[in-house]
Symmetry: D3
Subunit: 290 residues, 6 copies
């Protein structure tokens, strides 16, 4: 059994942490400065306020450390765990002013990442037993590509290409410009590096046949009905991977998954996942040195 | 009548555009390189695929220009306009490879910003006639603070403090550390710069009275029932602004708005707004110089 | 009465603080490392060495915190206060090596910001009673746009457009290219977003009339004599805001302000404000833990 | 004869150019977009509006290229040249929209750099024949250290240490902490890398003698009268370099320079140099392709 | 058969490209500006000057595009190909000034990446048939971690942990602090996330046994002789992966690989790989438009 | 005697330190977090493991301080010193977790910089007595230009131009485009700023004569045999500086240096210097506060 996916490399998200802290802290936390004694220490926990899939704890720890290297953090659960409401996710201990300065930024990241992972998990569970993979898209939040893709993987989803650079995906506009599906696929095969997958959007069974003959590696079926998917799958599923996309919701997902296709890609996994509800609670207070 | 809010200053979002393009383009768009002739020009439009509130066109133009300064863009509607499905939002013309390289990043930003503005508008419309302001929170996406706050304003919402630095907000943890609501508000009044608003979370009518006497500028009422809000409003609404928050949904929003309070702040405006559906369509093709 | 303007958002200046510290600290403060014991603590104050308008304290606090989060800072006066020589502006306490490492960078920012605010205040006071607004320009220091504009506002000045993006200003070159004042203003009205102000530079009374008819929102009068200004103001001041600019000094400012125009914009507010004289003084020394 | 100093390496100023353009351009130049045809070309020149010392042309060229790589620039004079009002400094040719988008940012940099160079030159000329060097300080604009130091050198000044890292300068606070001038200098000699200069501020002739004996490399005389400087110079000038600083103006500079000291350092060179007056003029217009 | 490893995500290297171009171009290429006509076009090729393993072409294309988006590039071979001296690797066509401005930066990256890949390949070939994996270390060039790791993989090597964050590696210092190998491994098992590998450095057979019992996932054998490796391998190789490191050269690599261990990690792969010799040649010249 | 070259300004390398730490630390050092107590202090030393030329200690100190400002560092030798194996270079004291988190990044920089300095020193020593200068090239590591050039200088080498911007170097491609050596040199003389050196690559004695007459400042002789160099030197060495380059190794360096030329430039100084072997050793451990 493979472990969880590796956390994305820091240069893909460290600048985002810096920006997020800068935009919240600005010239400083005026509330803490006015109300809290500087030597007040807190023992706190971050909790789930609803059932969720845990995702993003290493980043949350990095946020706290970026505010104050002396804060101590300790995860209470593993990435990818499915936990009930009330579950403690992380313990944080240290200067009250530091903990509260980092709190909102940490929770904003955590809520986002748990949200994407949890929303993905719901989709994955909806297709259990069909063998269909739930796949993400490039409809990620700007600046969050590596984090969003990781959260999908933690949720049990499958990552599509990372960007425009690591796979060929010929869409309707490319097809029109190239003069047809066959010509487009052949151009891709001829001109692109051999290790790149050539995926192509097709609108009909005829296009599908042409694409397969021209050497496509995967067919993308955009906005097809369950009926249409079933027909194409019946004819092609043994010869090439089939991916449905467009107009997919939790309501119709199971039906689409049972048409015989192999993958379903869903932009909403990353562009419309609801935030997961997480909160920081204070366990106890003490004054430093006392 | 005031115009729309000013678009946020570029240093607050320009690095995000750079990162978003870098993560999508990477070493280059392999599909266009393989399939599209370099001298192909496109006339394209970005359209709404559902009714939405327009938000973010200046940023979208900046994305296209960042990819290729020679792309020509022309907005077809104004920021803040409420448009039907099918409405053209922006025209983009230029090299096909450039337009398609920028497309996804531009749409990801636009879908986010229209999404927040539209979701806010729905909340604003739900309270029409009550005089209650719909207010955002610090539960914005990391790195998107200025864009999210602008989108809320475009949607008709009111911006709460920008961050920890521009208003005092005394929450339960601060109250506990300071030894009570009265002590906390007095400490804030004594220690903070005089122009800073002092807002304080209160849990009871008694706390509310204490806070008002100690000099608070606004009371935050977290997770109170409509009944509780009504009672506090009856006693305090002439003396101090009252803001409800916590557990607010479109379903109960109207009821809460009719309790006599002045403002309702809602984290979901920015943390859980569904993406608006926008797409780029090709109007016509031509070859450069021909 | 409105409070002071909000401090600019951190992403507009935080990178400048990082750079300023990097260029001064480089590989480290060799003097302190050689001469000062690491556990020496200082109580210090930053003082005005001449009468000035206070501006920039929140940024100064951020500089000290960036060097050492354990430094304690406490403002002694408010932004915008007019203080005499000798006034303590800020108290700073902590490790001597940290305080002295941040000193020069903090003072360089503070001297700049107080300088702009104080220089603006002198201009504002020179026109007291005329109702004329003192307005800044885009002649700010590269990288300091948001800080310079804030300092002008703190000094009592009025902020012109933030940049090329938030207002139309048709200058002589645009007029020539567009084929006259009337054509230029009409093009602007027709092509630009409706919420954008259309300002236009005019050289004569005739141009002024044309601009007003074409729908301009403000007339810019560049390098006009008091006599010329008086003449135009007599004819137009009830119909459109008039702004004089060019060749304005403290010596002729009052005369220009009494011509009947509404605003005077002055590049020198930000491009030639003398640095305000501020200094850090050591109040007392002690050794940590002793 | 040595050539002019080398222009500072790009990583010391390239980010500042990016920021300056971002803060002025934001989401785009709305005036040019509304009023200027996209194919309009301009031949323009940047001129001196007052006599000045030329400084910063390579940076100005970089600003224009950053906006549009197709703009052609051609310097008309050399760095360091002393030119009269009306002198053409640089020719710029290309798309009107690009030239005007870069204009203000380019001029803001150029005005600053010529300003510092010209102001320095005035000080250098005031001490001609005395052999005294005019020296800068660390009172540079935040983020402009390398540009400010270069401009001083172009003006004929001498660069003091670049920052806290490349020379020891023991000030009054260090002396007090170390227990006297002798102890401080000895600590510096003992603990610092051998190639580092040890400079020390002295307040009396007695201190001067102590510092020389302890091995100082230069004495800094802060806020001394011409009389005091003369006395110290008479006794020490053959044994150690002497640098005066503090309270220096163009009015008293010559008198101080004739006291026998070797160097005078002046913060105002970089913190209060008036902006030089430079402007961009349009020579001719044409439409591309015509 | 798996394809080549994916090229690292752009945010891990795009800032390095920006810096490299900034440090070479500075204020501009004075040679081209003085000697080359602006409309001169070049057809050029990048060639191998010695036999090498191709690595880094996508990055090289990104460098050329960063200088001038209009440059056309076309790879002539695939990543990972082993090519003879004289082989064309990439064709580049466009403005001479742009090609020559990017040339050195492009070649510096390419020479580095081909150098690491080629040096790795030599090590991999030296152990052919032994089943031993050649593994990299964290001794990468600062800022090049993702590129160096990719180049090792292209060369046929195996990537060790990416950094301190994605695997536990208990070295001698950790062992000493924890009170022995057993205690250290048990602490790691108890405190670390369950998916993290626990690797531990052992100095003796006895330590090896203790580590295995305590639950280690891999044993690191630093600076052991072939004899020692053989002995440990004989006893442990069926129970746990064994990795030798330290003092490995091409001269003794085969002998070490035949001791029965599973992996050999070699810092020199990335810290001392000789640059591969690559050069840009001009095929033909023409003047634009002619 | 001049001191060592100044350390490069921080903005040229500070971002590289940030990136290097980010790529190694990522979400945190999982080994130390699992195995080391937080209050463990270490006294450590960085040692040379082979004879080397010391280079980069100020940068190493900056790396440790960037991880934890409370770490104390103390250099034991000077930049440029030639030390034996076993020599302590730097002492580092502080929290074990901090020291070990910074260790690898610090050593990676130090090994690189000592490597370049040491490799340069070997070349310099090989030509002792000939008066020939050993010169670097632009074949530096991307992002390391200022550090690599400094290391060459520390090793006793001479720095060539910093980049494309600070000297004219006319290579074969420029010569061909300009229509011959004479035309190219004359164009450079006519068009370039007067302070810029004009260097030109020549392939024959005839070219050399032409270049000298046209006003070249230095001749570059690429890939010439010792015999050819001797011939050209005999005729030209009194009239113009001569620099050989191409195909230079430690084996043939002395022979080339004795041909009468003035300088030899060698790309391998920076592109293929072997890493110097440096390591961090723990001297003693203690628990904080005990």
């Amino acid at each position: 059994m493979p472990g969880p996916p590796p956390f994305p490399p820091a240069p893909t998200w460290a600048p985002l942490v810096d920006r997020a802290l800068a935009e919240d802290l600005g010239t400083g936390d005026v509330t803490s400065a006015a109300v809290l004694p500087p030597d007040l220490l807190l023992n706190t926990v971050i909790e789930a306020r609803e059932p969720l899939v845990v995702c993003g704890l290493p980043l949350v720890e990095a946020v706290f450390r970026a505010v104050d290297p002396a804060l101590a953090t300790s995860p209470a659960v593993s990435e990818g765990a499915s936990v009930p409401a009330g579950q403690v996710l992380l313990e944080v201990r240290g200067a009250a002013r530091s903990v509260l300065a980092a709190e909102r930024t940490a929770l904003n990241f955590l809520g986002r990442m748990c949200g994407v992972a949890s929303f993905t998990r719901r989709h994955v569970e909806a297709v259990v037993g069909t063998g269909v993979a739930i796949v993400d898209t490039r409809k990620t939040l700007p600046g969050f590509r590596s984090l969003d893709k990781y959260a999908v993987a933690i949720g049990g989803g499958t990552n599509h290409r990372a960007g425009l650079y690591d796979a060929i995906l010929i869409k309707d506009n490319h097809v029109a410009a190239a003069g047809g599906v066959g010509a487009a696929v052949k151009a891709a095969r001829a001109n692109a590096a051999p290790h790149l997958q050539v995926q192509v959007e097709v609108e009909s069974l005829e296009d599908a046949e042409t694409a397969i003959e021209a050497g496509a590696d995967l067919l993308l079926l955009d906005n097809r009905s369950a009926e249409e998917l079933r027909e194409i799958a019946a004819r092609c599923r043994e010869r090439i991977p089939l991916e449905a996309t467009g107009g997919v919701t939790l309501a119709n997902l199971r039906e689409l998954a049972e048409t015989g296709i192999h993958r379903i890609s869903i932009g909403a996994l990353t562009h419309s996942a609801p935030q997961a509800d997480v909160a920081l609670e204070v366990d106890s207070r003490e004054v430093a040195g006392s």
